[in-house]
């Protein structure tokens, strides 16, 4: 059982970069759906980290965790988009700047 010549931390740094991108997406974008996509991006970055560690630690727990994250992501997408659709139906907008009734 040899090793591939790719050092592990490449994957980890890639995951960190993707995670950062996701965070930026959430902060800058005004559209709720795109914000949600950026969050999905963050979750994927985490999945990558899990798989990387699972390989490094040589135990299956990482993969199982990835499955669980996928389940959660799917559930979140369902509820999240339902909320976004409900808001759109009521307010005809998905731009987060307009949804600002509750403040101070």
């Amino acid at each position: 059982m040899g090793t591939l010549s790719i050092p592990l931390h490449y994957f980890l740094i890639l995951a960190a970069v993707l995670f950062g991108l996701g965070v930026i997406g959430v902060i800058t974008r005004r559209n709720a759906i795109v914000i949600f996509m950026s969050i999905e991006l963050m979750l994927n970055a985490v999945n990558l980290t899990f798989v990387a560690f699972s390989n490094y630690l040589n135990n299956v727990e990482g993969h199982i965790f990835v499955f669980m994250v996928m389940v959660v992501a799917a559930a979140e997408v369902a509820v999240g988009l339902a909320i976004i659709v409900a808001i759109f139906r009521l307010r005809e907008t998905v731009h987060v700047d307009d949804i600002r009734l509750l403040k101070w």
């Binding site: 560690f53 990482g62 509820v79 009521l90 949804i99 009734l101 509750l102």
Partner: protein, 482 residues
């Protein structure tokens, strides 16, 4: 053929959760299959389910071993802490369900799906309370959150409720991202996500390396969001104000208790050995939370927003107990959570009734003259307010006293003094409600909601709870001591 050693003991351990899940599913089916049945019956069935779960919880009390035992390959841990946490979550859910009917008649919306969601959220909380691995913790957390996202937006034709749901959802998911990243890093460092493995890893090497530190830090941030400590509390006021009243009550008490359950399990339980890492961080978070929460609450005129900031401040007081991190911490935090439950449920119940249709009367000046209009409501609200402020005969005082005592024992005097000064600061905005009720005359005539017997029961339970914990804290304390 791999033999899966999951025996009866395992299923016994999670009996309350099983009972509750079946109730939830039964309610779904019932809701659909019998359209003609009066919808309010659903919440009563829900409560019956919860009662069964409580009974099974008491049964667990008899079979629990002293130190506690892991089940389901280290996914679930059953000890007295789990049972007490289950007890808190179940009672909270029951009390909120009692409030639902009066609220639904007020708003005349069909609340069919409300009860199952609450039931499933409670299952999530119980899972968090009894989790022995980060995976089950994460799943419990998410079950609860997903249910609460939906519940927050339950009045789906009301702009505020949906906005609250959206904000809660986006920020919740965002925070979950951080939590997960923390879990991943800790998994990488400790080699497994089970709390036992993490505890061994942290106790062996005192300096666990930057990755594990980052892991713990990010997890604290995840929990901080859930428990609404100050830099991560921004969602609480908006969501509490937007969400329907029973949901706000459920979130303020249930979600927060679940958050603290997670902290107790992970930070105090597993990462106890790595105290130097997180002790200073939590110290600072506590101070900022208390001061920030109380400070902004001073100027709030909307009762729900004020109670939101007050819940943030109380999160700060509980955190004092956590920061103390000695043998008394767990019983102090649990005692405070129980009193916190009674105080807030009482306050939100009264707020629910006074707020009237479509939650119009939620400003404090709408409470003027309540003392004359509805003396019983005013009395309960006053007791809740005095308890939240920490006046002696009430439970709130005993809770704070016990937390302060715990903090003292591990030498955090400055924290206690800041806590004392903060509770002094909080007296002002709590008393303002009492002043409005008794000393000011009602401006314009607002039709006061009628009190259904169920809500009366909730008020009574809250009142008894506060005074019982206040005057005879002894026996609850001994019961908590393990």
């Amino acid at each position: 053929m791999v033999n899966i050693n999951i025996g009866n003991a395992d299923f016994l351990a999670i009996l309350p959760m099983i009972v509750l899940s079946f109730t939830g599913i039964y309610l779904l089916v019932q809701g659909v299959m019998a359209p003609r049945m009066k919808k309010s019956v659903l919440s009563y069935l829900g409560i019956v389910g919860i009662l069964f779960s409580i009974i099974s919880n008491f049964y667990l009390l008899t079979i629990v071993t002293e130190g506690g035992q892991a089940f389901f390959y280290g996914m679930i841990y059953l000890d007295k802490l789990t049972i007490i946490l289950n007890f808190i979550f179940l009672v909270t859910a029951a009390l909120c369900l009692l409030l639902v009917n009066s609220y639904s008649t007020q708003e005349d919306i069909e609340f069919i799906e409300f009860t199952p969601l609450v039931i499933f959220a409670t299952v999530g909380m119980m899972l968090m309370g009894s989790s022995y691995s980060l995976m089950s913790l994460f799943l419990g957390l998410e079950t609860m959150s997903i249910a609460l996202y939906a519940l927050a937006g339950f009045r789906k034709f009301n702009r505020r409720s949906l906005e609250a749901a959206l904000k809660y959802f986006l920020l919740g998911a965002f925070a979950t991202g951080f939590l997960l990243y923390g879990i991943a890093l800790l998994y990488g460092a400790a080699g497994s996500t089970s709390l036992e493995a993490i505890a061994n890893f942290l106790s062996q090497n005192s300096n666990p390396g930057m990755m594990a530190t980052f892991g713990i830090a990010l997890m604290i941030i995840g929990f901080a969001f859930k428990v609404a400590l100050v830099p991560f509390h921004m969602w609480t006021p908006d969501v509490y104000q937007g969400a329907p009243m029973p949901v706000t009550a459920f979130m303020a008490v249930g979600a927060k208790a679940a958050g603290f359950a997670a902290i107790l399990r992970v930070i105090i339980g597993a990462a106890g050995a790595a105290e130097p890492i997180w002790s200073d961080l939590l110290w600072w978070l506590t101070v900022i939370t208390m001061t920030g929460g109380n400070l902004i609450a001073l100027v709030q005129s909307d009762i729900k927003r004020m109670l939101a900031y007050s819940s943030i401040a109380h999160a700060g007081y509980i955190m004092i107990g956590i920061v103390a991190a000695n043998d008394v911490t767990v019983s102090a935090v649990l005692f405070y959570l129980i009193v916190y439950m009674f105080m807030n449920i009482g306050a939100f119940a009264v707020a629910g009734i006074v707020s009237g249709k479509n939650e119009r009367f939620v400003d404090i000046k709408h409470y003027a003259g309540l003392g004359k209009a509805q003396p019983l409501l005013a009395l309960v609200m006053t007791v809740c307010m005095f308890s939240l402020a920490g006046f002696p005969p009430t439970g709130g005082f005993m809770g704070k006293l016990y937390i302060f005592k715990a903090a003292y024992q591990s030498g955090f005097q400055t924290l206690v003094i800041i806590g004392a000064l903060n509770s002094l600061l909080s007296v002002y905005y709590y008393i303002r409600v009492v002043v409005a009720m008794y000393f000011q005359e009602a401006a314009e005539e607002q039709e006061s909601g009628s009190i259904l017997p169920e809500v009366g029961l909730v008020l009574l339970i809250a009142l008894i709870g506060i005074f019982y914990m206040g005057i005879f804290p002894g026996n609850t304390l001994t019961w908590l001591y393990y």
